[in-house]
Symmetry: C2
Subunit: 330 residues, 2 copies
Amino acid sequence: MTEQRRCVANSVQRRPKRAGVRNALTKLGRILPPTPLLDLDIDGRIIWCKAECLQPIGAFKIRGAWHRLTELDEGQRAAGVVAFSSGNHAQGVAWAARRLGIRAAIVMPSDAPQAKLEATRNLGAEIILYDRDKESREGIAAALAGERGATLVPSFADPWIIEGQGSAALELERQMRARTGAGPTQLVVPCGGGGLSAGCALALPGVPIIIVEPEGWDDMARSLSLGRIVPVRDDAPFTSCDALQTKLVSPLTFDVLLAARAKSVTVTEREVGAAMRLAFERLHVVVEPGGAVALAAVLAGKVDHQPGTAILLSGGNVDIDRFAAMVGNG
Amino acid sequence: MTEQRRCVANSVQRRPKRAGVRNALTKLGRILPPTPLLDLDIDGRIIWCKAECLQPIGAFKIRGAWHRLTELDEGQRAAGVVAFSSGNHAQGVAWAARRLGIRAAIVMPSDAPQAKLEATRNLGAEIILYDRDKESREGIAAALAGERGATLVPSFADPWIIEGQGSAALELERQMRARTGAGPTQLVVPCGGGGLSAGCALALPGVPIIIVEPEGWDDMARSLSLGRIVPVRDDAPFTSCDALQTKLVSPLTFDVLLAARAKSVTVTEREVGAAMRLAFERLHVVVEPGGAVALAAVLAGKVDHQPGTAILLSGGNVDIDRFAAMVGNG
């Protein structure tokens, strides 16, 4: 068995657990302050917004990356890590690797937002570009990891990554309880590969989870409905939610969300733009398209806005020109 | 002596004190979580950025308003409050008044940013518009307060307001100490009427304070240099920093900053735009022009970027069109 195959095999052996989420939050609490929980008053009702876009790398992905990389042994650290990502996971891995003195190589699509490419490079990672339409990022990353004996750090198909991302929900629940005496009555979460939403479901087992995908990119929703994993349709329309353009989810994330009976909705480009605009005007935070889908779903009435509703603003890495074009549609 | 004159006289009798800043922070801690202290890495050196733009009203002004209004007695609360403001103080007073069940009337310039006018109205305040070039907001507000027996809540010429604003620096110092073991070595603060900067000087007496004003609007700097208060020059150029367009500072704020030997610098429109852009791209927060001047001063090299430098991002209430135009200059 090659090194690369062994890494992948290790990753799928273990199932993510709630205890791992708690452990991740403890580890993160030593190096990062909690992101703020902002209260957005819409017609007298509060939406509790967890501003993960204010993480040092501008997204929740720092959580999973830190939880994963801190579990590597000395030999694994010396051999380095390889990841593939449209941007936020790339930055998370690069940030954690730099802080731990680990060499990181990141496979990124050549059409990734300039902000994400530059930020990842500035964190000291080696960038390998690929063509999203013609090449397989999984293949390139796995081959590279095999060559170097490096550890592959998947963006969602990994128990540590899922547990790490879930720490956002545990942190949210504690903050909300400290402010209001109660945790969320429902949690609305952006979903690409499902790492964040599965982690949240593990973190808060009693809380209904609603996943939100861009219109036409609802492969997790269709998979949950069918009871088996299906890919994004070939004719999926353009979406500005680059962070959520996952073509196939993982059994690890799928199984957790299926067991949690997660519900799902989709949002349009226009609804995403309106949510980005509202976050700008009322919360004064910058949210990228994929990071705004949960807020968009509540604002558009696709999720019932019941008291105690909490959402994740999962990332804020967006080029200003793209941002201006999106909010103009709002 | 009329009611209105008695109010003004009361305000100037008492000098703001450090104990008042501590008291303000205690009161605020009961109702609001601390705003985040974001670390911005510029070429390997950190600028510690206190994100007051993430306050519920999008600016630090909520601090002084809460400290002031909670000190009113029953009779004063029943008679209501009157304030004049280009926008952020208006929202601070309206927010505190609504929460305390006090009637608030706010005198605002007719050319105030739409975002600020709407937000103040949405907080339930009565808005009285005036023409910035032809009418005196002080006169209108004082007359209104006199008619109603209401308490005038000045935006900076008031000991409670100054103490309340200073709580931002005390909170910053505690957060920075918890993260790094030490407080700031210098604090760079936007300056309009000087309420925030004087409050910060009171809060952290051992820490050098550098005030930042828009180019041509450096009346506090000139006043400090001359040792007496002088107004903004008649030929002051256009500035997008609407929150800092104060034409004459107050003896209360001036005296504190003079005693603290505050230093001062000015920044250009272009430097402000560049700072707003960097805050968007790297910190993922929305900062209005007047709120970005301290960051602009450090980025432009007008303040020596020594280790332990902290700045205030004092507000984020800016219309999207104005924002887009400003960051395009960066």
